[in-house]
Symmetry: C2
């Protein structure tokens, strides 16, 4: 016999968890679409050459690559930016520009799972391709902040910077990475590490950066955000030390922080004006952001922003008497027709006790008991599984009550 098991780094999402994830995905989609982002879906498998050499040497090692049954070299989706780039290149004559899309699909990375990373996880991206206007950056930032508020976060803050200030200061990649650690290691250690790298003017550089003002492009973004109701420092904040890890960002970069959550940023992105050009042979500026979905769920869990429901079912219709089976089936349909999530207990031979136990284990909030005794009085018994309270109500009253509970 085969041991039933999932691969390391892969997860099953049983109903209670799957429902929470769906709740978040639906809210995200709602806001993304409210901003005019349309859905895009790309295949799980791509030609290996589409994926390779795009993410850097380290990342290339994490690609799931193999030969398919026709001997083609293929690979599983590693992120959603490269597939987006391929799509924009492949359909460039059919897509109206700017092309604004959201994409919510799993990606696969052969990560070291000991770091608590998963090998299959969901990415949620929004990107605008084909415009350099700061309005596109503004819209992405606005959309992400609005999404977070819709998800219930009280204080989402977008940290903003523009990579070009590092160019002005002639900072190397290594130096940028040190600066990015300011939050974690503090001023003294940043200066110390920069000095060790041979930067003799580290303290001075630090002061220069500290007093740097946002570049004009970023100022325009911040002005636009204000016109859309966001407050400087409260909702967004310029931080000249924000660096972001990826190489391909060209100007604006941003990262989403939640005040009450210490697990790091929940989303990150920026402008990448040269990436798609290198892919398609046609220069197409772009700006986008990706939510870290697992971290988002974790933060929402911590802050009790997720629904507690274990099941989509609202009510179980019990079968207490075989002679009443037909009436119970009718009642089930009647409740369902009203949009109430209703199931009938799926074994007419089981005792009521067992039926109640099922409702309890599955987390169904109400059960309906519909025996000949109740029927003779024109009522139905409604039991609240949490409070254990029972009441006798007409079917109309039950419909009212359960519709309101939705």
């Amino acid at each position: 016999m085969i041991k039933p098991q999932t691969l390391k780094g892969f997860r099953d999402f049983l109903p209670a968890t799957a429902l929470k994830r769906q709740f978040v995905i639906e809210k995200m989609k709602e806001i993304f679409e409210r901003f005019g982002f349309d859905p895009l879906e790309t295949p799980a498998l791509e030609y290996a050459e589409t994926l390779m050499g795009k993410y850097g040497d380290e990342a290339d090692k994490l690609l799931y690559l193999f030969k398919d049954n026709g001997g083609r070299n293929v690979g599983l989706r590693y992120d959603q930016t490269v597939p987006l780039s391929r799509v924009v290149a492949q359909y460039q004559n059919d897509l109206p520009l700017p092309f604004k899309r959201y994409q919510i699909q799993p990606v696969w990375r052969a990560e070291n799972t000991q770091k608590g990373r998963y090998r299959e996880f969901l990415q949620c991206d929004i990107d605008s391709v084909g415009t350099q206007s700061p309005l596109a950056d503004t819209e992405i930032i606005n959309c992400v902040l609005t999404t977070c508020k819709a998800l219930g976060f009280a204080k989402p803050v977008m940290i903003l910077n523009d990579r070009t200030i590092f160019d002005t200061l002639a900072l190397t990649k290594k130096e940028i990475i040190i600066l990015d650690k300011l939050d974690k290691i503090g001023t003294d250690e940043v200066i110390n590490q920069l000095t060790l790298l041979g930067r003799t003017d580290a303290a001075e550089l630090f002061e220069t950066l500290k007093s740097t003002k946002p570049v004009e492009r970023l100022s325009r973004i911040m002005e636009a955000l204000k016109r859309q109701g966001f407050k400087d420092v409260v909702d967004f904040r310029f931080d000249p030390f924000l660096a972001r890890g990826l190489d391909y960002y060209t100007s604006t970069i941003f990262e989403l922080k939640i005040d009450s959550y210490s697990g790091g940023s929940l989303a990150g992105g920026g402008r990448y004006d040269n990436l798609i050009g290198s892919f398609s042979g046609r220069d197409l500026p772009a700006v986008g952001i990706a939510f870290g979905f697992d971290r988002l769920i974790e933060a929402m869990e911590e802050l009790h922003l997720l629904p507690e429901t274990k099941t989509a079912s609202q009510v179980l219709v019990c079968i207490v008497d075989l002679a009443m089976l037909g009436a119970s089936l009718e009642l089930t349909t009647r409740l369902q027709t009203q949009g109430i999530h209703t199931e009938i207990y799926l074994d007419e031979t089981h005792k009521l006790e067992k039926q109640l136990k099922y409702a309890d284990r599955k987390g169904i909030p109400y059960v309906v008991i519909h025996g000949p005794d109740e029927a003779s009085r024109g009522v139905v018994k409604l039991k609240n599984m949490q409070t254990k309270e029972q009441e006798e109500l007409t079917i109309e009253a039950i419909i009212d009550k359960l519709t309101q509970a939705q």
Copy 2:
């Protein structure tokens, strides 16, 4: 440079198509949950041994199998029934029984694409595991018919049979497959082919089958369906010649037909009481159905049941004057806050003509023109991109109009 292309048998879903697919998926989920089915998600990759030997020799050849970076033999999800079986076996102490789940995920099969088949396609399954009651079969059939009606199909019909009648008649697997072709090849040819197989009593057998009555179990299911508002012959129909291809069905089998669609059945399933037991070592009866999602979309397309929208955007706010940019940003937010899907044109330097062309190409139904002229009169111009009609309205009136249009 790398040619941007998708693998044969794999598809990108650009916004207009992705929106249609989402529309269908959301409706399906709504009804599945209304019947108390909860979502389940399983990983794309499974241990190869979990998948192999479950689908038959032909199907095994279509599995995407490979060695992962850790040398494990893995394979891509081929269907959702085997992962369900694994889940039920793996978490058997945690799952309340009956376990009712729906699952809507892509599956991968290295099919011959010349037959118009895809190598990546979506499956939509509902199953109830852990009960032999005919109520479970009834619920699945009811749920599928209700889903089809919610999707707009006027006349979905569920064809019903019970495999045990073939056992009674001692029919072989080959003979069953011939019987199943009755619709396509006609009575004479069925009798002819059965005779060629050495069945000398073919004509007699055919007559016996033709006059066969539903077994008791199936009669109970049909009775229950009637109590839930469905009509014999109209909504469901007994057909003793219905056979279904898969080996593992043990009793009830069913197939969904749409009167006005000739492309074959849109969903098929049945009861499989021994499949999970062979996997988990614990006998667990089950019944379920899978929708053919691509065929469903095709049927809806043919019958004009899909929304015509090319984008989720309802309105584009044009930028006609840089001095009005702030006001346009404010207006955009104001419309979005009312739940209206609104985007601002993402390049403040472009001429109005280009902005209108963008709205037209993307399929945005309305544009808002908000110039200094209109502002001085306290109105905004709203243009219907389909009729080309323009009207000057207050912002409140626009909100009313666009909210009603949703």
